[in-house]
Symmetry: C2
């Protein structure tokens, strides 16, 4: 007699069909294990929004069944939404590497929150309900990155996390242990969730070590210059390389930008960065040293609006960029950030600095596996079922195709979308729900911003706003023809003003007031609708119309 | 005794410090020769704007002295603003290639305008006032592209236009005649204006012929599929190559997208595209043929909002994309368009199509000279003075450095900005004015949109709008505390509403009404200012505040 098992399923709440805000729930019976809880950055399409996080409705509904949250690493798209999750569901135990959890802890402290943070190391196995999670070291653009081998009563689920294959990592990272993946594969993997970020890129990624070699050359060739390097604050290995080279060439080092200072302080405390502390200077004091004996490591490599590098370009930073400075941008542009980065580069050039950037030289390497590495991982793991994750639709599709080329049958591969629950059975995967409450939540400094508000802002931005003040006498049931119009973000012609008045009147007369009392809300809606429709027809403009109803009981305006 | 010459200068009205809206005025004495009159595309930072054009104030002021407008080629950034210039200054004679002027003519007709259009051919010389302009054929991503050798009483000005070196051009283009440039160089060039678009790219561009080879392979490998190729409508040579290959493989061809249809019809009429007309099918009828025997050439390679390819992705186009279709995007992303293009690609994948894109294969080659070609041109022309054009600041700076490396003295090189007038003297160049009226004009379907309006829209979009209705009794000089508040694009808390009321009251009491009459305008300004300041301090939000003043003479609301 076989033991009765509960069903096993995966609920996708973020990170599929998009790059960012990764959030996956693995469900065995009622038990839920969460993998990652990331945020994504707003764009010009979400004006006034500071952060985009996943919708937690599903997790809140099942909060008593959550056995834990495991984080693969400390990047924002994997941990950025944790403070918001903790706010809603305070008691989830969280597991991750020392650096990842130090970053989480910092975020929580900023919001005066606490959570149950449990540091794990590569090789650790923890039991969370019916799940046993083994943390496997992978190389990535941050220290303390894990793949996960999650044992369930239905067999192993292998989650790659974000990874690359780096045979010659630097700093504190051990070389990637391919035999570990082979061991996992040999145990037999029921389901693999594989990251897809670089599936469009052929070949293999370049080792982080190459960036060190490039930096070495740059420091040698620019001994007469102050060197300012912008890179990702979380890329502790790269920062360690830069510091070593700076120290070797007799330079003092300063960190610039809030997140650079925070993360580097953590990394120093945790011995993830090794340096002679007397070479470390606060950014305020770096100008006291001869320029050519200093090196500044800065945020802003994505052209972020108020980052250190952007401020340097604008001449409003503590660090005043001048002729004779060398600025090295050690990153590649995240799609959508290109224009902002180029603006910063133009500004730095205008201040007389020399700027190195782009893919010409090996100033940056990716942290994500390219096609050959993805193939290697699939070949080592040889999963029964495969679901590509961490990618826009085209990435997922191409990763699925790759898996198919490697021999996984088409019906053993699924492309998931946010809101899907896929059940893993002995012989097949099955989409059992495609409408799990999910999606994006917008957050600004004051909390959540509704989708409705964002929609209004977008309309306001492209077409402006027209305020229409109508004076209504509720007793005589009349609308005064003295209608007042104010606008912002749109120029209205005399013709438009006349039309607005006519259509406000039409809205009023459509109300059938002879039988009913005047309903302000109803009138406002009809008024806005009619005017918008008319202006669209007349001028193809669709401004936001705000009707204001004023009482005119005493016939004040007649 | 030497003849008395007038001064020679160049006035930069667009296309320096930016890529787009090229407009240069070359001035000898009072005479003005205009080179190009381009537009640039709006971004999310200019909401609701359809087109950005140069400020024509300077040209309007000197309109009686304009001897002509010469256009280097028919791309939007070189001709897109001509209808707006013609509207302001109707009688300027315009000179350019047959294709460039056909595109201009089409634009003018759309606006029911006419202009004096004069077609010139490569090798033609025309006399315009004291200037003699020779049109020299260059290779570019459009047929009929010229460099200009402009003879002036102070010697030759050489303007490269947009160019690349293509030893194996296709279609109707003759191979680039390097000896022509050598001849110009041997005549002695006083000033060279050189395009800088690709100065960041090492080496040389790839010949357009390579794209044909790639397309050949793609057609061979996909004989069972309908093939849809998106590219720039103006790249007539590429379209010619695609048509040839389609015809060879027995496919019917249809054009999709307004500009593709327009330009291809012109090119067919002008014999710039050669094909068997019976292979050309209207887009509405292409579905009547077996799919694998058809090829659609479409607009939308930049992910433009309502373009044919974007509509196909959304499933709202005449062409219904399905499983088994192959879509080839033969372009590279113009910075800023990446996200839009990826969205289109994701949508096409979701419809089951196979999509080829990106730089992996030679699906596209640039039309702009890379570093080695720029060096060759500078070496052939050997100008006395050099001003890099067509580039953002970093491009101009790098091109200037290149010229310096090739032996042009630093003080013979100038980096210009929009609004600069640089005089060319025998021994030096001199900035004689840096504040020529100039800049960007925003245009939408209804005409010009002011910078103020755009500023308002940006503020509306990031923070929303608050309408504050205040009832004022002008006789008793009192403000009713019954203040009405309406919002769009922002959520206001009870606390914010209270503060808004308090600060409206403060604005009112600051007016010193005991001695003066109530001034509605003054109050509105003070009210908006005080409320905005308070909300910023309280919540860091900066919504647009629109105060509305209502008369409360009879104490209606007390």
């Amino acid at each position: 007699m076989s033991k009765k098992y509960n069903p096993l399923s995966v609920v996708f709440l973020g990170g599929v069909g998009e790059i960012g805000k990764n959030l996956t729930a693995i469900k065995y019976g009622e038990e839920i294990l969460i993998v990652d809880c990331g945020s994504t950055f707003p764009s010009l399409e979400t004006p006034g929004v500071d952060l985009i996080i996943p919708d937690f409705s599903y997790l809140k509904e099942h909060k008593d069944n959550i056995v834990g949250l495991v984080v693969t690493h400390g990047h924002e798209d994997h941990i950025g939404a944790i403070p918001y999750l903790v706010q809603e569901i305070p008691n989830i135990p969280i597991y991750g590497s020392n650096l990842a959890l130090a970053i989480v802890d910092h975020k929580l402290k900023e919001k005066k929150q606490t959570a149950k943070l449990n540091v794990v190391e590569a090789g650790d196995k923890i039991k969370l309900g019916s799940f046993e999670v083994e943390f496997l070291q992978v190389a990535h653009s941050i220290i303390g990155a894990f793949a996960l081998a999650i044992n369930t009563p239905h067999g192993l689920i292998f989650h790659t996390g974000d990874f690359k294959i780096d045979y010659t990592p630097i700093g504190n990272s051990k070389p990637v242990d391919i035999s570990t993946f082979a061991r996992i594969g040999n145990r037999g993997v029921t389901l693999m969730l594989g990251e897809s970020t670089n599936v469009e890129k052929p070949g293999t990624t370049i080792s982080e070590k190459h960036v060190g070699k490039t930096m070495d050359k740059i420091f040698m060739a620019n001994q007469d210059k102050r060197i300012i390097i912008a890179t990702f604050a979380s890329n502790v290995n790269r920062i360690q390389q830069i510091i070593k080279i700076a120290e070797k060439s007799g330079r003092k080092v300063a960190f610039s930008g809030r997140s650079m200072i925070n993360i580097c302080e953590m990394a120093l405390d945790m011995d993830l960065i090794n340096m002679d502390r007397k070479n470390l200077v606060e950014i305020e004091h770096i100008k006291d040293y001869p320029k050519e004996q200093t090196c500044i490591i800065s945020t802003g490599s994505q052209g972020e609006p108020m980052s250190a590098l952007t401020r340097m370009g604008l001449g409003i930073d503590k660090v005043v960029v001048e002729e004779g400075d060398l600025i090295v941008i050690s990153s590649s542009a995240i799609p959508g950030n290109e224009k902002a980065i180029y603006t910063v580069i133009n500004n730095l050039y205008k201040r007389g600095a020399k700027v190195m950037y782009g893919s010409l030289e090996e100033l940056h390497v990716s942290g994500h596996a390219c096609r050959e590495e993805l193939k290697m991982m699939l070949s080592l793991i040889r999963p029964k079922f495969f679901i590509p994750v961490h990618g826009e639709y085209r990435h997922l599709k191409q990763h699925a195709k790759l898996a198919q080329d490697l021999g996984i049958p088409e019906d053993h591969i699924a492309i998931a979308k946010i809101g899907d629950e896929i059940e893993i059975k002995a012989k097949k995967m099955q989409l059992i729900d495609d409408a799990i409450p999910s999606g994006a939540m917008f957050v600004d400094g004051h909390g959540k911003v509704s989708h409705e508000i964002i929609k209004e802002r977008r309309q306001l931005s492209s077409e402006g706003v027209i305020v229409v003040v109508c004076k209504v006498n509720r007793v005589t049931k009349t609308l005064s023809d003295d209608i007042l119009i104010k606008t912002k973000g749109i120029d209205v012609t005399e013709e438009m003003i006349d039309e607005i008045k006519i259509y406000a009147m039409k809205a009023f007369s459509s109300l059938e007031l002879q039988d009913h009392a005047f309903d302000e809300e109803k009138f406002s809606q009809a008024c806005a609708k009619k005017i918008m429709k008319r202006l669209d027809k007349l001028t193809t403009q669709k401004p936001v119309v705000i009707p204001i109803v004023m009482d005119d009981e005493k016939g004040l305006y007649e």
